[in-house]
């Protein structure tokens, strides 16, 4: 029987979800669960960023701002107005989506593209951080603490397991969104815009609408992650949620795993969380662990961009296609067609 690509993908997806959801039945240790929750959170924001950068080629360097907007909106609503974060979550998502849509639209309107879009979003992130640093209403640079309590109605849990379920569900939702977008009209438009915006427009793709929708969607999902961050770590400040740090992890996970692929960001971030935990196990001392793992992040970005533009997924596909099974070879080629990220190499001049 020919193993079709879409069947393979569906099977993989279902297996992944089952594995994800079965973890709390095997792992009882709070420490391990905390590590897993942090890893899933990282993977989740990587998937969100991949949606804009990997699929649409919108190289947003301001995604930490959406994370921060989500975290701040729900927390402020809870602390000042007693509105449950379950609602605040979506309010934050909407605010982030509105900001994202307006930035994208303004950038499109004034033809700020490519690298300049990256710089504009980077400036937006820094601008927001600078403003929050001085805004007394949100406690300026001190940040906001939440108290640990047992109130499931207000998104507070004493145990780790509920947090695990929530972030797993968020991750699965983001993956499902990516999965369906990939096969939808909008998804094909996104890839067309990434490959060549002018050609896509000349073929009738409404690129401004498409970009605005994708950016708003991604910002919405990222902001939901922001609320999760606030409720899980119980502390937010401009120096953590609005800093460049989450953005760098999004980039590293998505690009090293394989940008513009469904599971690339998850695999990439899984690798880096494993690496982080591995380094923590070595006798290095507190701060050195973070520093060394970041040096490895930087090195992997360089390696990926210079030698392996398709990331780990691309490497895996290459290895699979070397196996001597004909059917699988066809299947993998089918997966690879159309969605392989070529936006790092597309400008290379072909020798005639």
């Amino acid at each position: 029987m020919l193993l079709s690509a879409s069947l393979l993908r569906k099977t993989l997806f279902v297996l992944f979800v089952l594995a994800l959801l079965s973890v709390p039945f095997f792992i009882r240790s709070d420490y391990l669960l905390t590590v897993l929750i942090a890893a899933l959170f990282g993977a989740y924001i990587c998937v969100c960023w991949n949606l804009v950068a990997g699929y649409t080629g919108l190289f947003s360097l301001g995604h930490q701002a959406f994370l921060g907007l989500g975290a701040y909106t729900s927390t402020i609503l809870y602390v000042k107005y007693k509105i449950t974060p379950w609602m605040g979550m979506f309010a934050g998502g909407m605010i982030a989506a509105v900001f994202a849509a307006s930035i994208t639209f303004i950038c499109y309107r004034y033809r700020v593209k490519g690298m300049f879009f990256a710089v504009a979003t980077l400036a937006f992130g820094f601008l927001l951080q600078a403003l929050f640093m001085t805004w007394d209403y949100v406690n300026a640079s001190t940040g906001i603490w939440l108290t640990l309590q047992n109130k499931p109605a207000d998104f507070f849990f004493m145990a780790r397991v509920p947090y695990y379920w929530i972030i797993s569900v968020l991750l699965v939702i983001s993956l499902l969104v990516t999965y369906y977008l990939e096969r939808s009209r909008l998804g094909y438009y996104m890839v067309a815009i990434r490959e060549d915006e002018d050609v896509a427009e000349s073929l009738g793709v409404n690129s401004s609408q498409c970009k605005v929708i994708v950016m708003a969607l991604s910002a919405f999902l990222t902001a939901l992650g922001g609320t999760f961050y606030a409720q899980f770590y119980l502390y937010i400040s401009p120096a953590c949620v609005l800093s460049i740090e989450p953005l760098i992890s999004m980039q590293v996970g998505a690009l090293v795993g394989g940008s513009g692929t469904l599971f690339g960001p998850v695999i990439g971030w899984a690798f880096f969380s494993f690496l982080g935990e591995f380094l923590r196990g070595l006798p290095l001392g507190g701060t050195a662990v973070g520093v060394i793992s970041r040096i490895i992040w930087g090195l992997s970005l360089l390696i990926v961009i210079i030698f392996l533009p398709t990331g780990m997924i691309g490497l895996g596909r290459k290895l699979i296609s070397l196996l001597p099974f004909r059917h699988q070879k066809i299947a993998t080629q089918e997966i690879g067609s159309g969605i392989s990220p070529s936006h790092f190499t597309k400008n290379e001049k072909k020798e005639d």
């Binding site: 004034y110 690298m115 504009a120 601008l127």
Partner: protein, 288 residues
């Protein structure tokens, strides 16, 4: 009014220094069309080399230039061979990723060696100042600004009055044409990138007598550099000076009248406004 003039003076001095920060970036961008997000971190590297020399030998940062300049040049050459050469022909997103990777590496190597705390260099003239009317001007800042102006001027002369400068401008205009004229484009790029790194490190060392260094300061500098380059045009030395002065003055006045954090926000606002006002096509412009 005094506050305003104070802010303006500081702003003008800082503007010259910002122009110095930007010329290496604008050289690399104008000549080889490579966006170097790590440029700000190169500046920070210069600062930390000066700090290292000051900590161990108590050399003045200006004296430490003797070591900063050659080491940054060699560093630039290595970076060119390992990173810039393979990605030069790839699209800009690849430049962004690769140079952000480089930024992360340098930043964390510095943190590993020096720790993440803020560091300063205290030389005898760090706190001394001259007073004109009611305006205080820091001596260290004046030295740095004067040096910056000199280097920017010399750099202009290098680009416009020497054979190397002509070769650089030829490469910026048309690579194929430059090859045709017998210019070794690869070597020109190599040396231009080396000079760009030297300018970054040089500017970092020069500001050390009054500035505060932290390993993560690079991104801040590179965003300011972007604003300057977008105001002044890619690869233009005169434009960099104008852009630097604009940014410096805005920042100086806003932080004197309101607060430094709002000044940072103002700079980012200028960047966003500049990006939207000036349409695409910065790269059409070569080195003036």
């Amino acid at each position: 009014m005094t506050t305003f003039i104070q802010g303006l003076t500081t702003g003008i001095l800082m503007g010259c220094i910002y122009a110095f920060f930007a010329i290496g970036f604008t050289l690399v961008l104008g000549v080889m069309k490579v966006v170097n997000f790590a440029h700000g971190t190169f500046v920070v590297m210069g600062m930390y080399i000066a700090i290292f020399i000051f900590m161990n030998y108590l050399w003045d940062p200006f004296l430490s230039l003797l070591i900063v300049i050659p080491s940054m040049f060699v560093f630039g050459l290595i970076v060119y061979y390992i990173i810039v050469k393979p990605i030069r022909e790839q699209p800009l997103s690849a430049h962004v990723i690769a140079t952000i990777g480089l930024l992360i590496i340098i930043e964390n190597v510095i943190t590993l060696i020096f720790g993440s705390q803020y560091r300063t260099v205290t030389v005898p003239y760090t706190t001394s100042a001259i007073t004109v009317g009611s305006v205080r001007i820091g001596i260290a800042r004046m030295f740095a600004a004067a040096t910056s102006l000199c280097v920017v001027g010399l750099f202009y002369l290098l680009l416009h009055r020497t054979d190397f400068g002509r070769a650089v401008r030829a490469c910026a205009d048309d690579i194929e044409g430059a090859w045709g004229l017998g210019i070794n484009v690869h070597r020109t790029f190599l040396i231009a990138f080396g000079i760009g790194s030297v300018l970054a490190g040089f500017s970092g060392a020069v500001v050390m007598p009054f500035a505060v260094a932290s390993p993560s300061g690079g991104l801040d500098i590179v965003i300011k550099t972007f604003v300057i380059v977008i105001i002044g045009g890619m690869g233009s030395v005169g434009g960099a000076l104008v852009g630097g002065l604009i940014i410096g003055i805005v920042e100086g006045i806003v932080s004197a009248l309101w607060s430094p954090a709002i000044a940072i926000a103002a700079v980012f606002m200028i960047l966003i406004i500049m990006l939207t006002i000036k349409p695409e096509g910065f790269f059409k412009k070569g080195l003036e």
